[in-house]
């Protein structure tokens, strides 16, 4: 009897915990000041994705120059033929503000985006795509000749 109560309580507790972990913490409605604050990449990354599992996927296609002469303007193209991708996050690992942008797409959009980003120094650019309740990651190294994030 006690064991059954214990298991029930445990399962309720686990489902509450797992439920709360199922999605990154905020909806894309209001600008999330904390996420876009300056800070260390791995801290900022963990604040958004906690310890959610993230799988590497070559099906998130990133086009970036291998060498960027001017870090103030680095063109990026992101695309994927995978269905049901609702959200994209772009990170530049060594930038003073590592989160570059978050995008939320309606199903009437193809998963295709071009933009121009700043890069402070050579580092990977990391793209996280949210497909249903799965997180997918791809990244690409960019060598930056002249930093584009100012001197502070």
């Amino acid at each position: 009897m006690l064991r059954r109560v214990f298991l029930k309580t445990l399962s309720r507790y686990l489902s509450a915990v797992l439920g709360s972990l199922a999605f990154p913490k905020h909806a894309l409605s209001k600008w999330p000041e904390q996420d876009f604050a300056a800070g260390d990449f791995s801290d900022k990354f963990r604040e958004i994705f906690a310890d959610l599992p993230i799988s590497d996927s070559q099906e998130i296609i990133i086009n970036l120059p291998e060498i960027a002469e001017n870090g103030a303007v680095v063109p990026i193209t992101i695309s994927s033929a995978l269905p049901n991708i609702k959200r994209l996050y772009i990170w530049a690992e060594k930038n003073p503000t590592p989160l570059v942008a978050e995008f939320e797409f309606d199903e009437s959009m193809m998963l295709f985006l071009t933009a121009r980003i700043k890069m402070a120094e050579s580092c990977p650019v990391i793209v996280i795509a949210q497909q249903g309740d799965q997180l997918l990651r791809n990244q690409k190294w960019v060598t930056v000749m002249q930093g584009g994030c100012g001197t502070g």
């Binding site: 530049a92 009437s108 193809m110 985006l113 700043k118 994030c149």
Partner: protein, 101 residues
């Protein structure tokens, strides 16, 4: 500050190109006198198709000056209305409309 919108219809999709004139200062650049230029950047960008939000973006100071974007809509018909809006960290905003041909 202004918004330029261009669209082109292809067989498989309609491409949207956006050019937003904005300084996108991240607060880390200095003016010629060595003074820090305060942060001034677009935070939120929204694309609406016939009054329905189709793209919602949060941007930071790591986006380049005069942001330029390409998006692709799966399908459109002549007369579809596109509205673009942005809001920056000084609470300035702009919007523009475009009718797809």
């Amino acid at each position: 500050m202004s918004i330029k919108i261009r669209t082109q219809r292809f067989a498989e999709y309609t491409e949207i190109k956006l050019l937003l004139s904005h300084p996108m200062e991240n607060g880390r650049n200095r003016d010629p006198n060595g003074q820090l230029i305060p942060a001034h950047f677009i935070r939120e960008l929204t694309l609406e198709l016939n009054d329905k939000t189709v793209v919602n973006a949060n941007l930071g100071g790591s986006m380049s000056k005069d942001p330029f974007f390409t998006f692709r809509l799966k399908s459109t018909v002549t007369g579809d209305r596109l509205r673009i809006r942005w809001l920056d960290n000084h609470d300035l905003s702009d919007q523009a409309e475009h009718v797809i041909e």
